[in-house]
Amino acid sequence: MRHTFYGVLLGGFALLLTAIPVLAHHSIAAEFDTRDTVTLTGVFTKIDWINPHIYFYFDARDDSGNVTKWAMESYPTGFFHRAGITRDLFKIGDTVTVVLYRPKDGTRNMGYLKEMTLPSGRKIEFDNGRPPSR
């Protein structure tokens, strides 16, 4: 399984070359406060694998068992593609832990994906200048 993932990732590196530096959708900061994060654990209920932003929907459960529906905006599909991550990595019903940026307009139960921990324990982190490994 790990070999498969490395194979996929190497393919992803080859496809990095497909990036075209002519576009930029709005910056995260136009919509979200990158200094205000929230960490949640929940179950995927719907995944819209679309551009210019992927949307994940999940039911977050608190310590008392109360469930709240959340929407999570994320990067374009190409970002995932170039990292070797496809839609297949995410399953409806998966329990994930996410770190989200909160929206500036005060919309509740919505955020922008900063980090995600998959059921396998593997993490996906988006950021600038991360060290290659740690």
Partner: protein, 297 residues
């Protein structure tokens, strides 16, 4: 509301890190540029294959030689995906001076707009979130889509395929048919994003003449940022020149729009290199964010 959530106050750390960001970004761009130049030089040194009809063989999947690694795995199989600053990367975005820099980046080769059109360009550029057609998932069209991604060449008809792969305006199935059999432009169809193309060979260069555009695209984005405001009218006329040198493809484009440009605009040429990849069907583009946009940056 007893969610297991915590808000962090990371401002101090972020500001400290962001002080270093401009320097790091600059250094990275320089090394990428030299690696790309070396890749182009090596690919250009290869022989230029020809099709059966003697013209250069433009078939293949062509890409820009960028070498910035956008993702890496650590030993535990975790993904770390870097986000470039012009894509909203978080660390540089927290740095006011870099944000400022990106906002006011000067285009080294702007279209020669007539003075009376410049005010509209500035107005559009100042509110790109609401005015840029690509933000609303409109196809990029010609010439903003830039150099072809994949070409399928036959003696009398070539097919140009696009795959933007970055989100904006990136609709599945963006293509153009370029007849090279001497037929004239057709006028029996609606104006469109990619226009009507006809091609002919001038020596070893495929020249593609494009007319019959709608006015729902911008001509280009300013490198490194999205909103250029480079609007045009339906008088747009684009002439592209495609030249294969070794395993490189050079794309040049000259843009005319007498309604808003004072003279033809020669766009900055782009050079791609040949790879063995293929176009795949993109997910659809469906903009949902505009209602939540608070500010430009």
């Amino acid at each position: 509301m007893k969610f297991r959530f915590y808000s962090y106050a990371i401002t101090a750390v972020a500001v400290a890190v962001s002080c270093l960001a401009p320097m790091r970004v600059g250094a990275q761009n320089r090394s990428n540029a030299s690696a790309a130049a070396a890749a182009i030089k090596a690919a250009a040194a290869k022989p230029t294959p020809r099709a059966a009809d003697g013209h250069p063989d433009l078939n293949g999947y062509w890409i820009y030689p960028e070498f910035d690694k956008s993702a890496h795995l650590d030993s535990a199989g975790n993904f770390y995906i870097d986000v470039p600053p012009d894509k909203g990367g978080t660390v540089p975005k927290l740095d006011a001076s870099l944000s400022e820099q990106l906002q006011h980046q000067v285009d080294p080769n702007p279209p020669p707009y007539k003075p009376e059109a410049l005010a509209k360009v500035k107005q559009l550029a100042s509110d790109g979130v609401h005015t840029d057609p690509a933000f609303r998932c409109r196809p990029l069209g010609v010439p903003r889509a830039g150099a072809p991604r994949q070409i399928v060449q036959t003696p009398k008809l070539s097919l140009i395929l696009y795959q933007i792969d970055a989100g904006d305006g990136d609709q599945p199935g963006s293509y153009r048919l370029v007849p090279t059999d001497g037929r004239p432009h057709r006028t029996d169809v609606d104006p469109s994003y990619f226009g009507d193309s006809i091609g002919h060979w001038e020596g070893d260069t495929l020249v593609v003449d494009v007319t019959h555009f709608n006015d729902d695209t911008w001509l280009a984005a300013i490198p490194g940022q999205g909103g250029s405001g480079y609007f045009h009218t339906d008088a747009l006329h684009v002439v592209e020149r495609l030249t294969r040198i070794g395993d490189t493809l050079r794309w040049e484009a000259t843009v005319e729009d007498p309604n808003v440009l004072s003279k033809p605009w020669k766009m900055t040429p782009q050079t791609e290199v040949l790879t063995h990849d293929m176009i795949y069907e993109q997910p659809i583009c469906e903009e949902r964010e505009t209602p939540h946009i608070v500010n430009q940056y």
